[in-house]
């Protein structure tokens, strides 16, 4: 379902295919190869009426009775739309197109391609004078076939995004447009029907009893802590090796983050060190499923049960991962995830969700996210403005349509990275056999990180560091630091480097990343 290249079929190419004329045999091969190489086929919506009429006319001219044509063409159109997606022509840019076009009809197809910005796109046409608005290449079916079959390695070196959200958007464009347009039409921008629908789908996906969508992953953590009644002076055990939000929400409530060091191979909280950190002020344990892999949840839950503590899984990076057959977000008292755009399941802004099987906690979360109101303008607890926008929910709903495929791809790409790293003796973050990682980040450990990052930058390959400083070394959090009790986190912060990763990462791109890393290590 991923797409590397995009072909927009012109009317003449499709009618030729139907009539088995001209380059139809090449077009057949083109369609075959497109399916085999994850190339996406498109038709511009503005070309649909022309296609319908011209095909009817051509068929009638050849002697097919009108009543037969009336049945035949819709079937051919349906067949086409089973293989090609439809690109939208937008009203807002018609004035611009009209002013620039030499052929207004052709220009509609060229303008529709703007939705695929950043992708490798061409229009497939037999018309040598096709008006592309000077924005896009045009090719005959034969040329398009040759272009499509160019070796991946040639195109891989063009650019490797750290996370290829543009490819994902191109693959899901019609679904995303439908979702956004539906919200614009019904106008329920806050708590619209998409919110409830998404919560239902996410509860089904995770197997948890409740899902409460919220404004962000940070908001999910904050509301969760508020829902279990965290007060000033309370202590929450968590990891220092994560994004700041995990500790931030604790401190915002006047509570104290108690940092427990991480494992040197997974970078997740070291469960064997948690119990020693528990005091009579401890009110919760908050492990983070770092880089997309859950921590040792059985051990953590067992310790929590012994001391009657709730466990909040910070699953901002791990939605879609599994731990002993159960989905991340449904591994403890509460699970919190983020739909930040770069997350494995992301929206186009901020968004998040809370998961729990506890009815009381779920009700508290629902009330807190709407200013603590239990009914309209009746505020029974302190709350926040923490709802997730309807449009963002619509986008996540669209992305769910290929999420299973994306998770599978992430597993495969992560496993391939692992094999390549291991073959070349490079040190990487490890994954445990009883759980999966959705590889929100694919992270290696290096001794000369700054130097290697510089070389990667020169090679045009983006990298990132998650995270360069442990939370307990951040200036605003030093008061929560115990003397050198997190040496592993300190060490990891100096050595970790994340590589390009995502469901649409191509093998050639991956090989290139590993080649560059290998040449430098």
């Amino acid at each position: 379902m991923g797409a590397n290249k995009h072909l927009i079929l012109d009317v003449n190419v499709i009618v030729d295919l139907w009539l088995e004329e001209g380059s139809s045999s090449v077009t057949e091969t083109l369609i075959m190869e497109a399916a085999a190489s994850d190339t996406q086929l498109w038709v511009a919506s503005a070309a649909m009426a022309t296609l319908d009429y011209v095909a009817r006319r051509a068929f009638k001219t050849r002697g097919v009775p009108p009543n037969v044509v009336a049945e035949m063409i819709p079937q051919l159109m349906e067949n086409l739309l089973g293989r090609a997606k439809v690109l939208t022509n937008h009203g807002f840019e018609q004035s611009d197109i009209y002013s620039r076009a030499t052929d207004f009809e052709d220009a509609q197809t060229a303008a529709a391609a703007r939705s695929l910005a950043g992708q490798m796109v061409c229009i497939v046409t037999e018309d040598s004078s096709f008006d592309t608005l000077g924005e896009i290449s045009k090719k005959t079916p034969t040329e398009a076939l040759a272009w499509m079959l160019e070796k991946e390695s040639n195109s891989a070196k063009q650019a490797i995004p750290f996370i290829d959200l543009a490819a994902q958007q191109a693959a899901l464009r019609p679904m995303i447009e439908r979702g956004i347009e539906t919200v614009l039409r019904h106008g329920q921008y806050i708590m619209g029907p998409e919110v409830k629908l998404l919560e239902e789908k996410l509860t089904a996906y995770t197997g948890s009893k409740h899902c409460i969508t919220v404004a962000s992953g940070t908001e999910a953590l904050l509301i969760s802590l508020m829902a279990i009644g965290i007060q000033p002076g309370d202590e929450i055990i968590t990891t220092p090796f994560t994004f700041i939000a995990t500790a931030e929400v604790i401190v915002l409530l006047g509570a104290k983050p108690v940092f427990v060091d991480v494992e040197s191979d997974t970078c997740n909280i070291d469960a064997s060190k948690i119990e020693a950190a528990i005091t009579n002020k401890t009110k919760a344990i908050m492990p983070v499923s770092l880089y997309g892999q859950p921590a040792d949840m059985d051990e953590i839950n067992a310790i929590a049960a012994k001391y009657s503590l709730p466990v909040i899984e910070d699953a901002a990076q791990s939605f879609g991962a599994e731990y002993k057959g159960k989905k991340s977000c449904n591994l403890s008292t509460i699970g919190c995830t983020s739909f930040f755009p770069s997350k494995p399941l992301g929206c186009y802004g901020d968004g998040g969700a809370i998961f729990t099987n506890d009815d009381v906690i779920a009700q508290a979360c629902r009330e807190i996210r709407v200013h603590g109101q239990s009914k309209r303008y009746w505020h029974t607890r302190i709350g926040v403005g923490g709802r997730m926008d309807t449009i963002q929910c619509a986008i996540v709903l669209a992305k769910l349509e290929r999420f299973d495929w994306e998770v599978q791809r992430r597993l495969e790409i992560g496993a391939r990275y692992n094999t390549l790293m291991d073959e070349h003796g490079m040190i990487r973050v490890q994954q445990r056999a009883d759980r999966t990682s959705v590889f929100a980040q694919y992270t290696v450990l290096l001794d000369n990180r700054e130097q290697i990052q510089g070389k990667f930058k020169e090679a045009g390959i983006p990298t990132a560091v998650h995270y360069p400083f442990p939370l307990n070394q951040q200036p605003a959090y030093r008061q929560f630091r115990s003397a050198d009790n997190t040496p592993v986190s300190n060490e990891m912060a100096k050595r970790v480097m994340s590589l390009p990763m995502g469901a649409d990462l191509q093998e050639g791109q991956q090989d290139w990343v590993v080649r560059v890393l290998r040449s430098l290590s």
Binding site: L19, E21, S25, T29, V54, V68, L76, D127
Partner: protein, 98 residues
Amino acid sequence: MIIETTCERGIVRLPMELKFQHDTFNVKVEVPDQEISLSPSVATEMRPRSENSLGIRAQIDAILGPYKNLLRKGAPLSAQDYKDIWHQHIEEKHLGRK
């Protein structure tokens, strides 16, 4: 059976006198390398037809049914033909209104 015939604009036609058991079936065609205008790397990468490709021809043929051969008999349309047909239609629809 091996048959010698001509490939014309990508279409291979078998002798009309042959009668076939089925309307649609697969054949293997040997194309001389010198007749392929794609670059050699592309030509060597051309894979056999997948089920998907066979599917599209078979699906289109199934829709066209007995009219398939009739449709083949018309003169191929040029790019200009497509525009003329469409423009004529637009004129008839919008300028020819009473």
